[in-house]
């Protein structure tokens, strides 16, 4: 999917390298999470897959095609939900379907099925701002899923939610992905969330973002039978989970400590 991707920005006449030589692939129906310190360019990676940003060099491909712009084959779930405040829940979910030219009957059938799947019954005519954050993000996920996209791109989708709502949404996303598996790229700064949700976790370094390590979670999940547990806290208590989480934390911390003395040196110079 990503091959030798570099992306730099110009800031005050200076070339700032945001991503350096990032290459990885997301397999068919695989769920990959990207974690990294803030400013490491993880959102930029996702935006490039969405076609909202482009690499300075290297290539981003989805399927066998180079990404040249946004499209409904790659649905994006934004951190700020990005629901249209002037449209009702139903109209929001139906928006992409209308763009695709699906007729009204089929449209209302699809919308109704996702309203049910995401537990939004009774809120079809509500406006997004009348809903809680968790409900809003359900609508956004329904809006993306309704298009039956090949790839699901999620940019810290639960970052704006409170801790309890977040846990509920994580459990529901896992269920949704089991019923309806998708190729998914998931950005987060929460290590637990990444380990809980993903088949593989890509750990990025501080700016410029490089791949620190890619961890295989799926094999551990299968071996230790994580999916047999209903609740996230039970999984998070397992030794295998704790082990992976600690390893990722260490990877993230190491890089920070490397970077710190350099920062001080620059200041004193």
């Amino acid at each position: 999917m990503f091959t030798n991707v570099k992306r730099s920005f110009r800031r005050r006449d200076q070339e700032v390298l945001a991503l350096d030589d990032v290459s990885f692939e997301v397999g068919e129906k695989e769920f990959v999470a990207i974690v990294g310190p803030s400013g490491c360019g993880k959102t930029t990676l996702l935006r490039m897959a969405a076609g909202l940003d482009f690499p300075t060099s290297g290539s981003v491909r989805v399927g066998d095609r180079e990404v040249s712009g946004p499209g409904p084959d790659r649905a994006v779930v934004f951190q700020q939900f990005a629901l249209f405040p002037w449209k009702t829940v139903e109209e929001n979910i139906a928006f992409g379907l209308r763009c695709r030219g699906i007729d009204a009957d089929a449209r209302s059938r699809i919308v109704a099925s996702y309203v049910e799947l995401m537990g939004l019954q009774g809120y079809e005519r509500a406006y997004p701002q009348q809903l809680s954050g968790g409900m809003q993000q359900r609508v956004a996920i329904a809006r993306s899923y309704a298009l039956d996209p090949d790839v699901l791109l999620m940019d810290e989708p639960f970052g704006a939610l409170d801790a309890q709502t977040r846990v509920v949404m994580q459990e529901e996303l896992i269920k949704l992905c089991r019923v309806n598996p998708r190729t998914a790229l998931f950005i987060t700064h929460s290590v637990e969330e990444a380990v809980y949700l993903a088949d593989r976790v890509v750990v990025l370094t501080r700016r410029p973002g490089r791949i620190r390590e890619i961890l295989d979670i799926a094999s551990v999940r299968r071996r230790e039978g994580w999916d047999t547990y209903e609740r996230i806290e039970e999984v998070m208590d397992l030794e295998s989970f704790v082990h992976l989480r600690t390893r990722i934390w260490r990877l993230l911390r190491e890089r920070q400590e490397d970077a710190a003395p350099a920062g001080i040196a620059v200041k004193s110079a």
Partner: protein, 272 residues
């Protein structure tokens, strides 16, 4: 108008409730009439210089029964409103799309902005000679003048609305497969609507004011014309009756647009 301004600024400090506000507004109006009545009936000022409220009310009643300067005061008001509707409608129909385009397409902004930024400082009244020259006493003249007053706020607010559209909505629409036209009609316009409607209020106010200016000069009906006729025959109660009509109609237009504004804000989830 001044009373309204004070009312809304007091509300923003979080002070009076709706009922208190109503009481305060009523109090202000009553005080105004009391002072007006007191001064006019004290004999300090000749009644021709300042007709009292009773005389003005009387005159309004008479003007609505008997035609003056060709028509009753209602017919003059309707004539003015028709012109206003046409000029204001034209300003909205051209100004809002232009503002949206300028806000949406950098290129349009670069081409139009310098011209627009200088033309908008020319007071509507300055167009009077050309209005007379180009349209004579026809309907075109006043419409041109209302238009020149109402057009800039339409453009500026639509422009600001389009500029302030959160890019995340545009990106969301793009990733959902929306094309350019759909993004304009279903994202840009609704997202900019609160700002557009706020612009309509300013625009209507300026348009209505400009109209009266226009009617002082280029037409032979309307409230402004009534005022001029009253002035030339030294009938100050008639001038003041026309002023009352202007004020009341302006107030009603503003209330109507303010209601529209709050409906839009409420359904968009924007705090008024």
């Amino acid at each position: 108008m001044a009373g309204l301004g004070a009312g809304s600024s007091a509300r923003s400090k979080g002070a009076p409730s709706g009922r208190e506000l109503f009481a305060l507004s009523t109090l202000g109006l009553l005080a105004f009439f009391a002072v007006w009545y007191g001064v006019a009936s004290s004999g300090w000022v000749p009644s021709r210089f300042l007709p009292g409220p009773v005389v003005v009310a009387d005159t309004i009643a008479r003007l609505s029964d008997h035609a003056y300067a060709g028509y009753t005061i209602e017919a003059h008001t309707v004539a003015s409103l028709q012109r206003f509707g046409l000029g204001f409608g034209l300003a909205v129909a051209l100004g809002v799309p232009l503002g949206l385009l300028m806000g949406w397409y950098r290129g349009v902004d670069d081409v139009v902005a310098p011209l627009f930024e200088s033309v908008r400082f020319i007071a509507p009244i300055a167009w009077v000679p050309f209005a007379a020259l180009w349209f004579g006493t026809g309907i075109g003249g006043p419409i041109l003048i209302i238009f020149s007053g109402a057009f800039p706020p339409c453009v500026i607010n639509a422009y600001r609305g389009a500029r302030q559209v959160d890019t995340v909505f545009v990106e969301a629409a793009q990733t959902l497969g929306a094309g350019g036209l759909r993004i304009i009609t279903e994202v840009l316009v609704p997202a900019a609507l609160p700002s557009i409607v706020a612009g309509l209020r300013v625009s209507a106010g300026l348009g209505w004011q400009s109209l009266i200016g226009a009617e002082l000069i280029v037409v032979s009906s309307g409230v402004g014309y009534l005022m001029v006729q009253g002035q030339t025959s030294l009938q100050t109660p008639i001038v003041m009756s026309a002023m009352v009509a202007i004020g009341v109609v302006g107030f009603v237009i503003d209330v109507a647009l303010r209601a529209l504004e709050s409906v839009v804000q409420r359904s968009w989830g924007v705090e008024p």
